[in-house]
C-alpha cells in the first residue's frame, strides 16, 4: 500500500524529504562524477598540469555548472535542515526548547546557504587572471 501526503505541515515535511532525497541521489552522483572523475573541458589534454584550484575554478566559471552546484546546495541544505528538525521533533519535548531548536536549525541553514552562495557565485571566466594579478 502506497502512502500519500494529506496536507498538514508534518506531511509536507515528510513528502518533500522524499522528493529532495531522490533528487539528491541523482545530483550527488553527478556532482561526484564531475568533480572526481572528469577533467574540466577547458583544461585540454591529459598533459594538463593545473592544480586542484585551477580545476575547481574552471568548473565553477561555467554558468550552467555553477547553477547546478547552487541547486545541489539548496537541495542539500533543505534536506539536512528538514532531517535535523525531524530528529528534534522526536527528541525535544519542551515547547520553548522546540521553538529555539527550530530557529537554530533554520538559522544554520541560512548561514550555510549564504556562505555557499558567496563562495561560488562570484567565480567567473576572469577569476584565474584576477587571482594571479592580486598575488603579484
Amino acid at each position: 500500500m502506497a502512502v500519500r501526503a494529506t496536507g498538514n505541515a508534518g506531511h509536507w515535511s515528510w513528502y518533500f524529504q522524499r522528493v529532495t532525497g531522490i533528487a539528491l541521489v541523482l545530483t550527488l552522483a553527478a556532482h561526484f562524477a564531475v568533480n572526481h572523475f572528469m577533467r574540466p573541458p577547458e583544461a585540454g589534454g591529459a598533459d594538463w598540469a593545473g592544480s586542484l584550484y585551477h580545476a575547481a575554478v574552471l568548473r565553477l566559471s561555467n554558468p550552467l555548472y555553477k547553477g547546478f552546484e547552487l541547486t545541489f546546495l539548496m537541495l542539500a541544505t533543505y534536506h539536512a535542515c528538514n532531517g535535523l528538525w525531524a530528529i528534534g521533533r522526536d527528541v525535544v519535548t519542551r515547547p520553548l526548547a522546540r521553538t529555539a531548536l527550530f530557529m537554530l536549525i533554520v538559522l544554520a541553514g541560512f548561514a550555510l546557504a549564504v556562505v555557499g552562495w558567496t563562495a561560488i557565485l562570484p567565480i567567473d571566466q576572469d577569476w584565474l587572471a584576477r587571482g594571479a594579478a592580486a598575488t603579484q
Binding site: M1, A2, V3, R18, G21, I22, L24, V25, L28, H36, F37, S51, L52, Y53, H54, A56, V57, L60, L73, A76, T77, A80, G83, L84, I87, D90, V91, A108, L112, V115, G116, T118, A119, I120, I123, G131, A134, T135
Partner: protein, 118 residues
C-alpha cells in the same frame, strides 16, 4: 531515545539513517566552508584541500562514503516502501540493498584508500 522495542530491520535501518544523516550534515558544513578558500588564492586553496589527502582524512573519507552510500540506498528503500508499496517485501528488500551497498562500500573505500580517487 532507544525505547524498549524489539529490534527489527526497520528499526535498525531507521536509527542508522538518522546517525548517517547527522554525520553527512557535519560534512556538508565542512565542505562548504572549504569552498570559501577559493577566495584566498591558489596556494591557500591547494593547501586546504591537500590536507584531506593525509591518511587520517582518507580513512574519514571512506567512512563518509559509507555513510552517504547507506543513507542514499536506505533512502531509496524508504521511497520504494512509502510510494511504491514495497512494504510486503521489505525484509528481503532491506537485506538485498544492504548486500549490494556493502559490496559497493568495499570497492569504493578501497579506491579511496589507494588514492585512486582524489
Amino acid at each position: 531515545m532507544f525505547l524498549r522495542y524489539k529490534w527489527e530491520t526497520g528499526m535498525l535501518a531507521w536509527a542508522m539513517h538518522r546517525l548517517t544523516g547527522v554525520a553527512v550534515t557535519f560534512y556538508l558544513f565542512l565542505h562548504v566552508y572549504t569552498m570559501t578558500k577559493l577566495h584566498d588564492g591558489e596556494a591557500a586553496y591547494n593547501t586546504a584541500v591537500s590536507a584531506f589527502s593525509q591518511p587520517m582524512w582518507k580513512a574519514a573519507e571512506a567512512l563518509l562514503f559509507g555513510a552517504v552510500l547507506y543513507h542514499a540506498v536506505n533512502g531509496v528503500r524508504i521511497v520504494l516502501v512509502d510510494f511504491f508499496g514495497a512494504a510486503r517485501q521489505q525484509r528481503r528488500l532491506f537485506w538485498g540493498m544492504m548486500g549490494a551497498s556493502a559490496a559497493a562500500f568495499v570497492l569504493g573505500s578501497w579506491l579511496i584508500i589507494s588514492h585512486a580517487v582524489h
